[in-house]
Amino acid sequence: MSTHVSEWLNAYHDGELHGTQLHRVEAHLAECDLCQAELESLESLSDLLHEIPAPEFTSAKRFAAQVNLRLPHKQTNISGKQILEIGWWMIPVGILGAWVFIGTSFVLGEILSAANNLGLLSSISGWLAFGPSSDIYWSATLGQFGLLSGNSLNWAETTETFTRLSLPQISLQVSIALLYLSWIAIWWVRHTRQEHGQLLEG
């Protein structure tokens, strides 16, 4: 005998199964007394619930008149939920916007720096105030005190330059990528939960 179909009996009882899932449950019910009895108990319960008589309310027109008397004059234009929904979809837009902004700033900074080094910006270098580079401040200081020299000084300067210029950029890019991936993961979980029910349709 195939495995029991208890978890699908409610959906079967409510007429929510279709396709292969429906055939699978029907085939199992034909040969399993246990599941058949469980289905019958669901049907009995449904009959029992319908023994409660329908309530007798005031007429719909009278009710509508009562509601009409209590209606406020103004309607609100936008619900809090809509604001939340808009906010939810603005998150990836904001993240992508921040990523583009930071990336563009980095590239522009590199171009301007390269142009300055080549002397192309000599006429406006004063205005841009590049001045002496402070990227190697600590290495230069240690070198002045004779603590570093030769290859070790070059290595320290390269490391400091990398740490000062590239590391913050990389950290920012990684952080943005992680934020974006987290948003996609949350969206995927929500989407999967919504789609789960569609499995019922076989």
Binding site: E7, D14, A64, V67, R70, P72, K74, Q75, N77, S79
Partner: protein, 196 residues
């Protein structure tokens, strides 16, 4: 001869969204029965049902401009109705969560025959429903009494279909456990009647 023009629901919604009270009253007339029925099944009290239904339509009127045309107004109203019923129940505290247990304690005094009176039976069933957690009760009510599909319930309560299934499974399993004795007694009585 005067022509009777019946405006369909979409037109009524559009007019109500523009602030036309008469159009909204028409919508109230259309959905009053369903909304009150859902709330009554949720709380088991006629007066609470009337009050919560009024509250539902007032909230619906207030937020009607944000209602998306083309979607189901009934589902939208039911969502507000379930929330309104829950809020009112919490405020009024007329229904005790352990109502079923209270009734079971009273049963021995009533005698075994009393169990079979219709009023007792329906009261017991109603209390069993009321003893369910609100989330499961709402799903059960929409399925059993409004005969809504799982997708409609999911849409009305803004929950995934999988959650509808699990809540419905839980509600029925709990009810079966609580009413099992009554079902058994009923079966026994029917059996005795047949032999006589």
């Amino acid at each position: 001869m005067a022509m009777v023009i019946t405006l369909d629901e979409a037109e009524l919604i559009t007019k109500a969204q523009r602030g036309e009270r008469n159009a909204f009253s028409e919508l109230v007339c259309i959905h009053a029965q369903g909304v009150r029925n859902v709330i009554y099944r949720m709380c088991g009290d006629l007066q609470i049902a009337e009050d919560a239904a009024q509250e539902t339509f007032i909230q619906a009127w207030t937020h009607l401009p944000s209602f998306r045309p083309g979607t189901s107004l009934r589902n939208w109203l039911y969502r507000i109705a379930v929330n309104a019923a829950t809020d009112l129940l919490r405020k009024e505290k007329r229904i005790l969560p352990n109502a079923l247990e209270d009734l079971q304690l009273q049963d021995p005094q009533l005698g075994p025959e009393a169990l079979f009176f219709e009023e007792e039976r329906t009261g017991l069933i109603q209390k069993a429903i009321l003893s369910l957690p609100e989330a499961s009760r709402a799903v059960l009510v929409l399925r059993e009494y409004e005969e809504m599909s799982y997708h409609e319930i999911a849409n009305a309560l803004d929950i995934p279909v999988g959650t509808v299934m699990s809540r419905l499974n839980y509600a029925r399993k709990t009810l079966k456990a609580k009413l099992e004795h009554r079902l058994f007694v009923q079966t026994e009585v029917e059996h005795v009647d047949t032999r006589e």
